[in-house]
Structure formats: structure tokens, C-alpha cells
């Protein structure tokens, strides 16, 4: 501990002391002294900085807590530590290159970022109904697999933050299997830039469907194991039941969507209420709970993973019979090349190169124009949404008629939902702040963009 008088040479806080009262600088292993000195002052109020470098704040989230004993009287949230200017950067790249950027925002749900963006571009182009069916099925399948992997991380890190390493390990093992599928299908485990305006980057490789079927055999049992570990675990219940309560009115006022909203009992899921990518043709249920607490949000996530498995199963079934292209037929929009594995890794398929260099002048021109210049998108604006694992992910796409986005704005659910932290945490115990933040499941890459 360093009461300000201790330092004679340099004291960073000396100037502020006059304005804000006594400041204690905690240097580690001196908490008793800080508490004793605070008691001497007769001042019970402590302001504690939690984060941005704190393992349980989900990345670089900073919470500024005012404590009265162990009770949180005020909670302020500081964000912006992971701002990377993705929206600005996208204005300097073509529409297709945009997916490479936006996939990196919410890094646990890259497929959702890409799909939301591509749906916006497609809406502005007016080609929403021309996307091949196979591409739409692959999109849905990838999104649902991604939902499972994202929820698994949410539950795994939540376990870790409450001190349960077993939950963490089990969750991450299962996520690893999901990422293996992504690697098999897209070539990358994260940040795939797989969904493109007009379709998807490439068709499923041979053998992918059987790998997914193995996954579908394995997962239900594993989710069941996780449920067995936590659903009725007294320690887990004590930490989550009736903690961080937020009812429907609060959710509406603060714009909260996703599992937090569904845990209040409102079955609002964009996949059902405003379907996209053909979700209206799949058979699944919207998971809801009525407890509006951390435990309810956990149950909603577990149920959603089980429902996602059902959807993936239906996708696999359809993909067996639905064949055809995975990119729009329109040669002026659809990315011309399919990727293929070559001797030196993944690249343009030799068949496509032979086609444009040897047989078709038109194809060569289209390839050249699309790759160097990109396609033009008619002027206007569109707002499209998808149900990401964290809630409504909205994309506001503005075009001035050029080959680059004029403005792209992402309404990231993590950003909006994080505003609810004070409402959930204030008046509760400091230990419950961790549970509250974890139940929102914010991803700072998405919050700060």
C-alpha cells in the first residue's frame, strides 16, 4: 500500500488527492493495509478497477466498481480497448473483401458476421432470391455449428470464471471438434471469410458430410454430460440462481436480445420471427426460460445447442440431395473462382485457370474485372439482421453506387447487451458481477469492432 505521503520523489496521484479525497494505490499483497487505512478514514466506499487486464472479464472489458464492503453500489463499464476500426477499413475495400474484415469482429461467431453482412449486400443488389439453395443450406449449417461452438465457449469460460476447471476443459474440447469441422470445410478454424456476397466461397469438400455425421453422433451425449455436470449442481445453482435478474421491461428498454431476452420468457428469435436463408423451412424450437437470471440464460444456451444440432441434421440430409452451384449464377456478381487444394496449399482451382486462360474470353474479363475492381452495388441503404448467439446482429449497409461500401455499421449484440451490466450488478455482491458479465457473454472484438 502506498498512502500518498509515503512517496517523496514522485506521486502520480498527489495532484488528484486534493480534488477527490484520499487515493490508495494497490500494489499487490497489501490489501489488508489498504482496508485498514480505509477503515481509519471512516470511509467504507472503495472504487475498484476490474480489468481491462482481468481474466474473468472476457477479454479487455473494464469495470469500475464502487464497493460498500462486498456490495456493489455503482458499476461503470469502460470499453474501447479492442477498437480496430473495422468499419472504417471496410470503406476502403471492395464489397467482397469486406467479409474478410467483418469476420474478425465477433471472433467467436465469425460466420454470423459474414452472413449478416452478405445478406445486406445481397439485399442492396436485389439478388436475395437468386442465391443458390445449396449455398443457403451451407450457410444455415455453418451458422448453427458456429452457434454451438460459441455457446460452448460461453459456458466453458463461465465455468472457469466461477472456478470450475472441469467445465472449461469439457467445453473447449467440444468446441475443438466444431472448429475441426470449420477447418475441414473452409480451411480455417476462425475468421474464415467463407460466406461471400452471392453465396459461399467454396463447396463442401468430399468427406465433410460424413465428418459432420460423426460429430452429430457424438455431440448429444457430450451436451448431456455437460448438463449432468451443471444442471443440478448445488454449487453451480448457488452461484447462478436468482443472480443478475433482468426482466422483460429492462431488456426492452436497454435493447437486450438473444439468450438474455429469451430467459425472460419472450420467445423472440429472428430465425422464427423474421426468417432469412430459408430458416422457415427447418424444424426447431425457440428455447425460453422464465427465471430471467443467470441460470435461465445458461439453460437457454444449452437448449439452443440441442436445437442447433437438430437443424444441422436437417441440413446434412438436404445437402445429400440438393446439388448445384454455391455461388450466384450472375457472372457480374458471383466470385468466379472456386478454390481447390493444390501442391502448395489452397488456391484457385486449376480447372478455373484453364477455363479463363484457354477457352473463354468472357470468363477471363469477368474474372479480371471482379477481382481487381469488384462489382457495383446500386445506391441506397439496407438493414439486415441475423440471430447471432448473442442476439440481434444488425448490419446497416450504405452504398453510393460504387465498388466499395460507403458505410457499414454493425449493431453488435455484445455492445448493446453489455449496457445491462450495471442493471444486473448494482446492489449485488461483487462475486455476482462475474456471473452477470459471463451470462451476457460479451465478446470484446464485437463490442469494440
Amino acid at each position: 500500500m502506498s498512502p500518498s505521503t509515503k512517496y517523496t520523489e514522485y506521486d502520480a496521484y498527489a495532484a488528484e488527492e486534493a480534488a477527490e479525497g484520499r487515493v490508495f494505490d494497490v500494489g499487490g499483497q497489501d490489501w489488508d493495509q489498504v482496508v485498514a487505512a480505509a477503515e481509519d478514514l471512516g470511509d467504507e466506499r472503495l472504487v475498484v478497477n476490474m480489468g481491462p487486464q482481468h481474466p474473468s472479464t472476457h477479454g479487455v472489458l473494464r469495470l469500475i466498481l464502487t464497493l460498500d464492503g462486498e456490495t456493489v453500489t455503482e458499476c461503470r463499464v469502460g470499453i474501447g480497448y479492442l477498437h480496430t476500426g473495422i468499419e472504417k477499413n471496410m470503406e476502403f475495400r471492395t464489397w467482397t473483401q469486406g467479409t474478410t474484415f467483418c469476420t474478425r469482429m465477433d471472433y467467436l461467431a465469425p460466420i454470423f458476421n459474414e452472413t449478416a453482412y452478405c445478406l445486406g449486400v445481397e439485399k442492396l443488389l436485389g439478388i436475395t432470391d437468386q442465391i443458390p439453395e445449396r449455398a443457403q443450406i451451407i450457410r444455415v449449417m455453418m451458422m448453427e455449428l458456429n452457434r454451438i461452438s460459441s455457446h460452448l465457449v460461453a459456458i466453458a469460460t463461465f465455468g472457469l470464471e466461477l472456478g470450475a476447471t472441469t467445465v472449461m476443459l469439457n467445453g473447449f474440447i467440444e468446441r475443438e471438434y466444431t472448429l475441426d469441422l470449420f477447418e475441414e470445410i473452409t480451411g480455417l478454424r476462425m475468421n474464415m471469410a467463407y460466406v461471400r456476397p452471392g453465396g459461399v466461397a467454396q463447396d463442401l469438400p468430399s468427406g465433410a458430410l460424413s465428418k459432420i455425421r460423426d460429430y452429430l453422433d457424438r455431440m448429444p451425449k457430450r451436451i448431456q454430460a455437460l448438463r449432468k455436470l451443471m444442471d443440478a449442481n448445488p454449487v453451480y445453482l448457488a452461484r447462478t440462481k436468482d443472480v443478475a435478474y433482468l426482466d422483460l421491461t429492462g431488456c426492452m428498454a436497454m435493447g437486450i436480445t438473444g439468450p438474455v431476452l429469451r430467459a425472460t420468457g419472450l420467445p423472440w428469435d429472428l430465425r422464427k420471427s423474421q426468417p432469412y436463408c430459408g430458416y422457415e423451412t427447418y424444424d426447431f424450437e425457440v428455447a425460453t426460460e422464465t427465471s430471467a437470471d443467470v441460470y435461465g440464460r445458461y439453460l437457454v444456451r444449452m437448449k439452443e445447442m440441442e436445437e442447433s444440432l437438430k437443424i444441422v441434421e436437417q441440413c446434412v440430409e438436404r445437402l445429400q440431395s440438393v446439388k448445384g452451384p454455391v455461388m450466384i449464377e450472375d457472372k457480374k456478381i458471383g466470385w468466379p473462382a472456386q478454390l481447390a487444394i493444390g501442391a502448395d496449399g489452397m488456391g484457385n482451382s486449376p480447372r478455373h485457370i484453364a477455363h479463363i486462360m484457354g477457352t473463354s474470353m468472357e470468363a477471363l474479363i469477368h474474372h479480371f474485372k471482379l477481382v481487381t475492381e469488384g462489382f457495383r452495388v446500386p445506391a441506397g441503404q439496407a438493414y439486415t439482421t441475423v440471430e447471432s448467439p448473442r442476439g440481434e446482429l444488425g448490419v446497416h449497409v450504405v452504398s453510393d453506387g460504387g465498388t466499395r461500401p460507403y458505410r457499414v455499421h454493425f449493431r453488435d449484440p455484445s455492445f448493446t447487451n453489455l449496457q445491462a451490466t450495471p442493471a444486473m450488478a448494482e446492489g449485488g455482491m461483487i462475486a455476482d458481477v462475474i456471473a452477470a458479465v459471463a451470462s451476457i457473454d460479451p465478446v470484446m472484438g464485437g463490442v469494440d469492432r
Binding site: 472504417k88 439485399k123 436485389g126 426492452m252 441506397g380 441503404q381
Partner: protein, 248 residues
């Protein structure tokens, strides 16, 4: 230029110059001259003398239709009718209405924004409970309305979406805050202030949210440079993205 091959015919049709519009576009302000963004004599493409005029400000006629199309009156007309009924100053408040790509945009004059938002939230036949935040857009070429704030509202009760668009001049970048109506806009308005410099009057604590507190400038504005340095790759120097040749 006619081919017998159907695929080629389709491609040639797509390349043909579109038919001229009704209004004479040459009277509209100039949006762009030349091509490829070249400002010097370096443009040898033959497009150096090209003059592109701005499209006229769109305003959709009735019926507005719905998300499926504007052939007959639909949910957008219901929303507009109801808003007109409950808002006495509808004509003053709503500058124009645009329906495009199955979405409806109400261009609202800024002094009426809070009232419009409150009516949209509270009236039982409107009931837009959820605001999906603010998105700023900077149009430096639109004198008097350079800065736009775009709000997307969602009605869970009626399962509809609408968009409000408010503009303000760069010289007087003030738009009333609607945090009192939609508390969720707290952070969204801070973000738009941070990135565009729009001052939301009445916001409880309008501070920067993404950029550091002492940052100078508003990065998402079009006059704010992207930044970046040239990078050498296998002997060739690649300029930073904002200095590369562009196809505007």
C-alpha cells in the same frame, strides 16, 4: 452487336447503357468527374471528361406497400397512416418518405425527433419497442445536411421494422438525444458522437466510448484519413489502402 448465343446475348444486354430517366439529370449537382479517382493528367482511359451527376433526392409515392413490394398498400402504409393520425405536426416533422429494397425510411426533421420516437414507441398500433441503435453516415457532398443519424426501430408486437433518418449540418452538428425514449441508445449515441462528431443534445453523459478520451477528431468521417504506410512485398511496394487506385 447481336449474338445468337443466349448466354452472350444476356451478357451484352447487361452491358447496354440504361435508358435515360425522365428528369434531365444534367441540371443536378455534379457528383464526380473523370474515372478511377485520377485527379491529374495521368488518366489515359478516355474517361477524363466524364461528368456524373448526383441522383435526385428520392421520395416514394403512395402506396408504400410492405417488405414484399409496393404494388398495393401494406404494412408500411399502416405505419404511416397511424403516425399521421397520432402526430398533429406530421407534415412538419416528416420531410419525406423513401421505400427502397423492402424497407421504409422516414426522414425526420431533427427538432421533431423525440416526439416522433415517443409516439412510435407508445402508440398501441405502432409499438416500436426496440431501437437497434444509431448509425451515423457522413455525406460531405450534401451541403446543409452533411451528417446523418440513422435509427432502426423494431416492433416485436407487430413484427415490423422501420428506419428513421435525421440529418444535421456540419456547422451545427446537433441532434436531440432519444435516450429518454430508448435508454439503449445511451452507448450508441456516444459511439456516433465519438466517430462522427454529432452532438446529441440531452444525452446524460456524451463522452467518447471507443476512442481514447483525449483523441482529436472523429475517425469515421469521410474527411478523416484512414492512415497506413506503404508495405514492401517481394520487391514491390504496395501503397496504403486509401492511396491505391480506386474504381469509384
Amino acid at each position: 452487336m447481336s449474338s445468337q448465343h443466349p448466354e452472350q446475348q444476356a451478357e451484352q444486354a447487361a452491358d447496354r447503357v440504361p435508358a435515360p430517366r425522365d428528369a434531365d439529370p444534367r441540371e443536378l449537382p455534379v457528383a464526380r468527374r473523370g474515372m478511377f479517382g485520377a485527379r491529374t493528367t495521368g488518366d489515359t482511359s478516355g474517361y477524363g471528361g466524364l461528368v456524373v451527376h448526383k441522383p435526385p433526392k428520392a421520395s416514394s409515392p403512395r402506396p408504400y406497400g410492405g417488405p414484399e413490394g409496393a404494388a398495393e398498400s401494406g404494412v408500411f402504409d399502416e405505419v404511416a397512416d397511424e403516425l399521421e393520425r397520432v402526430l398533429p405536426e406530421f407534415g412538419d416533422a416528416i420531410e419525406r418518405v423513401v421505400v427502397h429494397r423492402g424497407e421504409i425510411t422516414f426522414h425526420v426533421r431533427r427538432e421533431h425527433l423525440v416526439e416522433v420516437a415517443r409516439k412510435l414507441r407508445d402508440e398501441p398500433h405502432l409499438r416500436f419497442e426496440l431501437c437497434s441503435g444509431v448509425s451515423g453516415v457522413h455525406y460531405p457532398d450534401e451541403p446543409g445536411e452533411e451528417l446523418h443519424a440513422v435509427y432502426h426501430l423494431l416492433s416485436i408486437t407487430h413484427n415490423r421494422r422501420i428506419r428513421l433518418e435525421v440529418s444535421c449540418p456540419d456547422a451545427d452538428p446537433h441532434i436531440p438525444s432519444i435516450v429518454s425514449v430508448y435508454p439503449t441508445n445511451d452507448w450508441h449515441e456516444r459511439e456516433t458522437w465519438d466517430f462522427f462528431g454529432i452532438v446529441f443534445d440531452g444525452h446524460p453523459a456524451l463522452t467518447r466510448i471507443e476512442m481514447p478520451d483525449d483523441w482529436v477528431g472523429h475517425p469515421q468521417r469521410k474527411d478523416y484519413p484512414l492512415g497506413g504506410i506503404p508495405v514492401e512485398y517481394r520487391g514491390a511496394e504496395i501503397p496504403p489502402p486509401d492511396e491505391r487506385r480506386s474504381y469509384v
